[in-house]
Symmetry: C2
Subunit: 148 residues, 2 copies
DNA sequence: AGATCTTTGTCAAATTATTTGACAAAGATG
DNA sequence: CATCTTTGTCAAATAATTTGACAAAGATCT
């Protein structure tokens, strides 16, 4: 199922971006990133000396969070602390995508459905979102019995 | 709100990856990617001749989908056709993330909540997911009246 | 007030990564 | 057999990045 593949792409820990891209997307300069890495606040993957540094999506989230706190006026060390305390909202988001988004199916031209699964306190009800050109709308429906 | 920033990072059309990264993540070789671009099946951003080609996340999804169909035995042209007919599940997914994920909040250490909004056919009920180390669970609750 | 630390920017030499045109090759199709 | 599709490989040229070094501004400490 393609939906599963897409979700794996998003959460793929091997998906990585270059330092320049990280800087462009987050607004944190490459020299800041270099310094933060030297301080041990963030990490990158580098197969050998002089080779490119690559950053994971989770690191991207973390850098964006640290930047958020720096913009609020905190010192770098405090921003890093607060980011750590938040336990990486990026991971929450990733777990949600991986475990809660069950399937993505296509219904027709420019129309699809995202299946979110059953309610924990009402397992007879399944939640799904309809996505089309107007946006998205959330619905519930009774769980269909398995055909096999 | 940080949750919004994270969602913007995922759906950010300016987030881009290099051709080598696209090849690594999708399993499609760089010479295939070059050929597909020459054929007009996919596109990249390139600020000038001889500069790096950069691919958007949506293009990443599309390449992955085309690869999926090639692996099923279709010719390249047919795979591209089928991908076009699917209207890019990646866009469905993106719209879902952008419009349906309302907020991501943190409740405590390694625990958070993803707010999905109200049911269209029952606007008094709000759906949310609790994310923790066990995974995720979906719940509904009455909509709280606004304080402001 | 001076010393020290934090944080970020800039530079240049060295190295890696990518682009590009060209060509080969295998298999499919006409 | 000719032509097209699709992909791989090569090498020269160019871009992108790394790295160590150093400067600078502001905060903090003594």
């Amino acid at each position: 199922m393609l939906g599963k593949q897409f979700r794996q792409l998003i959460t793929n820990e091997h998906l990585r971006i270059s330092v320049t891209e990280l800087a462009n997307v987050t607004g944190v300069s490459t020299s800041q990133i270099r310094y933060w890495e030297r301080k041990g606040y963030i990490s990158s993957k580098q197969s050998d000396k002089n080779k490119n540094h690559y950053f994971s999506f989770l690191t991207l989230f973390r850098v964006a969070t640290i930047k958020h706190y720096l913009d609020q006026g905190f010192t770098l060390a405090t921003a890093v602390d607060k980011e750590r305390q938040r336990q990486e909202l990026g991971k929450v988001f990733r777990t949600f995508i991986t475990d809660q988004v069950k399937a993505i199916t296509q219904l027709g031209p420019k129309k699809g459905e995202v299946i979110l699964g059953t309610l924990t306190d009402d397992p007879e009800k399944e939640i799904y979102a309809v996505v089309d050109q107007k946006g998205t709308r959330l619905y519930s429906r009774p769980v269909k019995p398995d055909r096999h």
